[in-house]
Structures are given as C-alpha cells and as structure tokens.
C-alpha cells in the first residue's frame, strides 16, 4: 500500500472521531451525568443544585409508590412475554408448517402494528376501551355479558391488565417474523425422520421445532424484557398517564412525572438509575436461566 501511517490514522480519525464525539455528548455524557444528578437535590436551575449524598436513594426506598411501579413493570414484562411468545409461536408454526396458501397475507397484516406510532396505538386502544363507544364494552353487550362491561382504563383493578392487550397487539408481528425465520432454517429431514418414527404434530413441535428455534426464543424473550422495562412507560403515558390513582404507573412514567412534571430532576435521575440497574440484573438473570434451559436438550 502507498498509504503512509499518518494518512491511515488521519482517515481513521475522520471516520471515527466526529461520530464518537456526537455519541459521547448525546448518549454517554447524559447517562453518566444522570448518575451524577441522582446525588443532588436539583429542581432545574443550577443555583439550586445541592449535593445531598444518598438522600434521594433513601427517599426511593421509602417511597410507597416505587414498589408498585416495579411490580407494574414486571407484571407487564411477564404477561407480555407469555402472551407474545405463545401467540407468536403458534402463528409461526401455523404459517410455516401447515402449508397455508395465504400465509404471506397474515405475515404482513400481523406485522403491521409494529410500524405504527405508540401514540397512535395508545389513542386507538383508548377508544377500544372507551366505556361508551368502545369495542370491548359493545362486544360484551352483544354477547349478552353487559355485567362484565366497565370503564376499563378508569378502573384501578383493570387499568393495568388492560394495557397488556395493546402491547401484545403491537408487538407480536416482529417476534412472529423472528420465529418464522428460525423455523424456516430447520432442515426438513428432521421432520421426515420424526414422521417415520410416528411422532404426532404435537410431539414434533416439542421434540424438533422448539429445541431448534431456542436461540430465536431466547433473543425474543430478552428483547421483550428489555423493551418493556425501557419503554413500557410510553404506552402508559399515552393511555392512562399513570392513573387512576397511580394504578398504572411504571418506573419510567413515574420518572417522567417526578422530573418533568414536578421538577424533581435529582429524584427523577435516581429512579432512572434504578431502572438501569434493574434492567441489567434482569437481563443477566434471564441469560443464566435460559442458558441452563438449553443444556437440557
């Protein structure tokens, strides 16, 4: 090569430095300084920024709403993982194994909500649950089950479970595609061998399909967990704003409320640190659990 070392390094710097500077300013610095803010009583103006050590963390531990936000987040994580994985797996097997002619149609339709904005999804589903106009209540009436009709998002008991359906609705397409990709890569010879051995469809699913798409299952579960812990608050914000009476507050929506509505930026940052730590711990535990699961096959 005719290139000198100096030229090479200049080019490398040209490629890497501007991008890294932007990344450092707008991603790394905010994350670390969020950590830093969590040790301050900070209401938005730098004159009033007072170092208070671990006081925010002590407040966090004693805040009666915090345990509920954590429970709500993990409720959404668990119900979404179960709901999405069962349905996506069922659809993926149906669309790949059963030679349904119109399979591409379903694949496209089911993916469709994945490209919609969370605001649009949230508003749309607020209407689905609307006590007077909503599809859910009119559906129940139609079936003669008026007794079950209720103001879903206005009920302290039902508001949080009501958020699960739109999350599944919005999420299923992506995981369906991932699982379909995994199943498509399984060699047909496995199924032929299973067929000769007289394995039923059900047995083929448990003995062939599931073990061989386990990598995709694992990635999907991790994805759902990460995106729920990091992003469930957006749907909450749009659909219920955390209400009624904090019944749907998750960690992120509570952070938003503390920081950007009540201007407790220091305490908001402390909640952010908690979200970060809980997400990392959850992902680590999950990876350990699912690794052990794989060894059994």
């Amino acid at each position: 090569m005719v290139q000198s070392k100096k030229q090479k390094y200049t080019f490398l710097a040209f490629c890497l430095v501007p991008t890294f500077i932007m990344f450092a300013i707008f991603t790394l610095y905010p994350l670390f300084s969020g950590l830093y803010y969590s040790f301050f009583d900070f209401s938005g103006s730098s004159q009033n920024m007072e170092f208070i050590g671990l006081d925010n963390y002590i407040h966090l531990i004693n805040d009666a709403i915090i345990p509920n936000t954590i429970i709500h987040d993990y409720f959404l994580v668990v119900t979404k993982v179960i709901g999405i994985m069962i349905m996506a797996m069922f659809f993926a097997v149906a669309l790949t194994q059963l030679k349904i002619k119109e399979a591409p149609f379903y694949r496209i339709v089911f993916f469709f909500p994945n490209i919609m904005s969370v605001v649009v999804i949230g508003i749309l589903w607020t209407f689905v649950y609307n006590p007077d106009l909503g599809l859910v209540n009119s559906g129940l009436e139609f079936l003669g089950l008026e007794a079950l009709a209720r103001p879903w998002l206005g009920s302290e008991t039902w508001a949080l479970p009501s958020l699960v359906l739109p999350s599944i609705w919005a999420g299923i397409g992506l995981f369906l595609l991932m699982l379909m990709g995994g199943i498509a890569n399984i060699s047909k010879s496995y199924y032929e061998a299973a067929e000769i051995d007289g394995a039923s469809q059900w047995q083929q699913f448990w003995k062939v399909t599931l073990p061989l798409v386990w990598p995709q299952v694992k990635i999907s579960v991790l994805y759902i967990v990460i995106t729920t812990l990091n992003g469930s608050f957006i749907l909450v914000q749009v659909m219920t704003g955390g209400g009624p009476n904090n019944a749907t507050h998750v960690m992120g929506s509570y952070l938003y409320q503390q920081a950007f509505v009540q201007y407790n930026f220091g305490y908001g940052a402390t909640i952010g640190v908690m979200i970060l730590v809980l997400s990392l711990i959850t992902v680590l535990i999950l990876q350990l659990l699912m690794r052990r699961d794989k060894v059994e096959y």
Binding site: M22, A94, F111, I115, L255, S279
Partner: protein
C-alpha cells in the same frame, strides 16, 4: 398422499385463530379510518359502522384549525434531517469498524451495540439541560440531532453486518489504482452498500416520524410540535371538545405515510426490524 378428513378439518381449525387475529389487528385501524369521515354526532350514534357520507371536513379542520399542517412539516424536517445525519455519522464508523482493523475496533463496536440495551430514560434528564445550554431546547433541529444519535447504535450494527457481505476485491483494486481511502468510502463502499443503507434509513425514518416521548420532553411550544405531539394534544383536547372526528383524521394523517412506505418496502422493513430494531 391422500389427505384425511381430520387433516382438512385441522387446517380449517388453524385458520380460525389466524382470521380472528387478522380482524383484531385490522378492525381498530379500519375503524379509525371510518371515524375520520364521521361527524361527532355520528360517532356517538353509530360508533362502529360505515359512515353515512365520506365527508373530508374533519381533515380540513385538523389541517387548519389544529395546525396539523405545521406539525406535518416539523415531523418531515425532523425525519429527513435525522435520517441523513444518522447516515453521515454511521457509514464512516461502520466502515472503519468492519474493514479497517485497528486496535480497539472490537471494543468500539461493543460500546455502540451495548447502547442499544441501555434504558435511555435516565439520560433524557441531563440531555434536557444540555440542549438548554446549547440553545436547542424546543428546537426541531436539536430534536433531529438527538434522534440521529439515538439511532446510531442500531444503524452501525446493521451497516457493519451488511458491509461484511461486500467482497473486498473492489476496494483493493481501487486502492491499487491510487484512489484515496476517502474516495473508496464515498465512491465504492457507499454505492455498494446502498441496499443496506436504504433499509436502515427507512427504519430510522419510521422511527423518527413516530417518536413521541423525546419530542414530549424536548419540545414545548405548539408551533414546534411534531405530529405525535399534535395528536396527543388534540386527543387531550377532545376530552372537552369531543372533536373525535378531527382526532381520527389526524391519526390517519400520521399513519398514511408509514402505510405507504410499508406497502413499498414491506420486505426490507421486516428484515431490517428483525435485524435489531427496538420497539417500546
């Protein structure tokens, strides 16, 4: 092989959940489209039926009375600038990481990619004050920069995996012919990876067009609202004004460009998403 009765029944049976889910996905969306043509009185009288007439009054109201025109324009600017900036930043870095092996290239890649896993909500508080200091708070260009950087990890991730499939021989030939590395990046690598670039750009554009939460935090005055914020605003107004028809019309305005993109690039979008998109 002859099909048994049971098999045929089984196949019909399997279609029932597929059809039910199709209805569950499409019905609310159709309903939104239908609602956008109904007057408020009609929405109450006949919430789930076909509109009596296809009146575009709601669209006109949304467009002029609720300033959707400004928001569409803002969203367009944020999306275009964000998408271009992401590429300008991501292509050279992806090229350097994938092709120019240097000390720390692996570390840099892991650093960028692990940012995809980190909850950014903690960073949004300092980012708010940072933008304030740069005089970019309540500014759609500031938002575009934040968007661009937020999609950097995903874009670098997809582009490096795409670049690794391009044969090295062309760049080597160009280098022997005396082309500078800048020329190679611009005239060889970028055109060759156009397919990957288009895929991530569509995905990023949809993401920027749809984004709500950062816009909520970083934008304040209504003339700077993006579509997502404008819709959210109309939605909370509608609690008092009952302007449901207008709300549906603005939802339709927000979703139509995405539907068109999806219709054209359905395969690329699905592929790009499964390669690492993150949805809230």
């Amino acid at each position: 092989m002859k099909r048994s009765v049971g098999e045929i029944l089984g196949k019909t049976g399997i279609r029932i959940p597929l059809i039910l889910w199709t209805i569950a996905v499409l019905y609310p969306i159709f309903w939104m489209f239908l609602g956008s043509f109904k007057s408020n009185a009609e929405i109450y009288r006949n919430p789930w039926g076909i509109p009596e007439s296809f009146d575009v009054q709601n669209f006109a109201d949304a467009w002029t009375n609720y300033n959707i025109d400004t928001s569409v324009f803002n969203s367009l600017i944020v999306t275009v600038i964000g998408a271009i900036l992401t590429l300008v930043l991501a292509i050279p870095t992806a090229y350097a990481i994938e092709r120019l092996k240097f000390r720390g290239s692996n570390f840099l890649f892991i650093l960028y990619v692990s940012a995809m896993m980190i909850p950014m909500v903690l960073g949004w508080i300092p980012l708010f004050f940072l933008l304030m200091e740069f005089n970019m708070l309540d500014n759609i260009f500031g938002l575009a920069i934040v968007y661009a950087v937020s999609q950097l990890p995903f874009t670098i991730f997809v582009l490096t995996s795409f670049l690794s499939t391009i044969p090295k021989s062309l760049e080597e030939a160009a280098a022997i012919d005396g082309m500078s590395p800048y020329g190679i990046l611009l005239k060889i690598i970028t055109p060759l990876s156009m397919s990957g670039i288009i895929t991530v750009t569509i995905m990023n554009s949809i993401q920027f067009w749809n984004e709500y939460f950062m816009a909520l935090i970083f934008l304040q005055s209504s003339e700077n609202y993006t579509l997502a914020l404008a819709i959210d605003f109309i939605s909370s107004e509608a609690q008092y004004t009952n302007a449901w028809g207008t709300l549906f019309a603005s939802l339709v305005i927000a979703i139509v460009p995405v539907i068109v993109l999806y219709a054209i690039f359905q395969r690329r979008i699905s592929k790009g998403m499964t390669e690492g998109a993150i949805k809230g």
